[in-house]
């Protein structure tokens, strides 16, 4: 028995998305707003939520959320370990597992971020000393997430002869999709190839536009048992598969993981497709988490959507843009151009594709995949399907 089709997403909700530090509200209030919005979308009252699932050490405690929302009973309070966005699809899998096992009936997956209220990502350690594993990297100026991952991608580039144009194609596709999405932070701010090429390096091989935004806001989605999915207002969106984890010693300290030039999905992908009873050729549309474009590229290769030796030919904007691209990618604008909500916005966009409500809709999208948090550990992926996939 697997998760396949046993649960469905019946409500999605988001706050407005703000530039980092510019949310007018407290993070907890943003979380509440997104959850209330997701409930309204599902046509349920928040009191009916009996489970909460999140990731990346979200600061908003389920007991307090349940109290604030008047939930009748709390049955499931779950946190996927691991930083960054690696837990986005895992949290959906955890919610689905709770529902199919009878631990809970109505679980909200959520993530809220207000960096004005709390600390900022992407900034190095400010303490006078560091100890433990950080002591072996920080004194050499290896400080930020970009620094932590750039050498993995550089090694992949070296091994497979990847050109910069492949990364540029990812950035251009995200920005093009954001121009159709009024919710996107970069809506109305298109990007062209020359601007990408001339943009400053953050860390080679990543330009400014290869790096995710930093935003304030919150996102939420409501899951219930699959057999109830038709009782809700929107087209049903079933969870066909969700997997999490990483390969042997992915967490080895100080950049000593044996398989270094990887986004950490190699061991997950066979399980992902097996559970969904689908393969790479069945994926109609993809949302792939951009912490950095290099992670997107490696994760797409590791999900079998492009051969490593063919990335320079495959990663061109026409292949990655809706509605006609071979693999429409990040159709809301993604973390680069819509909003950085630790990737939960990507999962919501994947649901929109199944509901036929994306602002960059892929015709007849029946199978919609999300790749969460490449290069961190654990990572996760999930596949959503329409009723036609049952």
């Amino acid at each position: 028995m697997t998760l396949r089709s046993r649960t469905a997403v019946v409500g999605v909700g988001e706050t407005a998305y703000y530039k980092r530090g510019q949310a007018p509200d407290a993070e907890f209030k943003l979380a509440l707003e997104a959850i209330v919005s997701a409930c309204a979308d599902a046509g349920i009252h928040p009191r009916d939520i009996d489970g909460f699932a999140s990731f990346s050490n979200d600061r908003n405690d389920p007991s307090q959320l349940a109290a604030a929302l008047g939930c009748r009973e709390l049955r499931f309070a779950n946190m996927q370990w691991g930083g960054g966005g690696g837990g986005g699809s895992a949290a959906i899998g955890n919610a689905a597992a709770a529902i199919m096992s009878g631990m809970a009936e109505c679980v909200v997956v959520f993530r809220a971020l207000a960096q004005g209220q709390y600390g900022r990502f992407g900034q190095g350690a400010q303490a006078p000393t560091v100890s433990g594993n950080l002591a072996h990297t920080v004194p050499y100026g290896l400080l930020s997430p970009a620094h932590m991952f750039a050498m993995k991608y550089r090694r992949f580039m070296y091994e497979f002869g990847v050109e910069q144009s492949a990364l540029r194609a990812i950035a251009l596709a995200c920005y093009e999709h954001a121009q159709a999405n009024p919710r996107a932070v970069m809506h109305g701010r298109p990007l062209d190839a020359a601007t990408y090429d001339e943009s400053r390096w953050i860390v080679e091989p990543w330009h400014l536009y290869d790096c995710c935004l930093e935003n304030d806001g919150a996102a939420a989605m409501i899951l219930v048992a699959g057999e109830r999915a038709r009782d809700f207002p929107h087209l049903p969106c079933y969870v066909l598969s969700a997997v999490a984890g990483s390969q042997f010693r992915a967490g080895a300290p100080v950049h000593n993981t044996p398989d270094y030039a990887t986004s950490n999905f190699k061991t997950l992908v066979p399980r992902l497709y097996q559970m969904a009873r689908l393969g790479p050729a069945d994926i109609d549309v993809l949302q792939s988490y951009e912490n950095f474009t290099g992670g997107v590229l490696m994760s797409i290769v590791e999900h079998g959507l492009c051969k490593a030796g063919e990335v320079n030919e495959f990663f061109v904007p026409d292949n990655l843009t809706a509605p006609d691209g071979q693999l429409p990618l990040n159709t809301s604008g993604g973390n680069l151009a819509e909003c950085y909500m630790h990737g939960l916005g990507l999962n919501i966009e994947a649901v929109r594709q199944i509901r036929r409500t994306s602002t960059a809709q892929v015709a007849n999208a029946e199978v919609s995949m999300v790749i969460s948090g490449p290069m961190v550990t654990p990572v996760s992926s999930c596949i959503f399907g329409s009723e036609a996939t049952l």
């Binding site: 433990g132 072996h136 004194p139 390096w201 030039a261």
Partner: protein
């Protein structure tokens, strides 16, 4: 050496119970890495157990500071106040030649604009921060 590779002000390493011999070694111009007393294999970074044979009895043994560049990055955007006036700098991941291919992180000495070559041979240079608080040493790298 006269001047550290990076401008002063980054956090200084504070030895822990797990890696104190390593830091003491650098202070004395020696690279000491963790090695299992049972299976005699090196591992890095330091761990509480040998991940191969699950032996808790680990030593720190001297390793010749020679290796090859496994990967690299040229950093431009400063994310720490100490680096605001640094300009570009290079971080390398070095695979050691004589320690079961473990990797260490350091800076590549020389012009930050120099070509960066995966696979190139490099040798270690001990960089002493005598006036650090506490005093400490780093291990840097240069092309052979």
């Amino acid at each position: 050496m006269s001047r550290p590779y990076l401008h002063p002000g980054l956090p200084a390493p504070a030895p822990s119970d797990l890696d104190r011999p390593y830091w003491d070694g650098l202070r004395n111009d020696k690279l000491l890495l963790q090695r299992c007393r049972r299976c005699a294999r090196f591992q890095w970074g330091p761990e509480w157990i040998c991940h191969r044979c699950l032996n808790f009895d680990l030593s720190f043994d001297e390793v010749e500071p020679l290796g090859t560049i496994f990967s690299h990055q040229r950093v431009w955007h400063p994310v720490h106040p100490a680096l605001k006036k640094q300009g570009a700098y290079v971080i390398v991941l070095v695979e050691l030649t004589h320690a079961d291919n473990v990797r260490v992180v350091g800076n590549l000495l020389g012009d930050p604009a120099q070509p960066l070559r995966i696979g190139a041979e490099v040798e270690g240079v001990f960089e002493h921060h005598h006036d650090g608080e506490p005093a400490y040493s780093l291990l840097q790298w240069r092309y052979v």
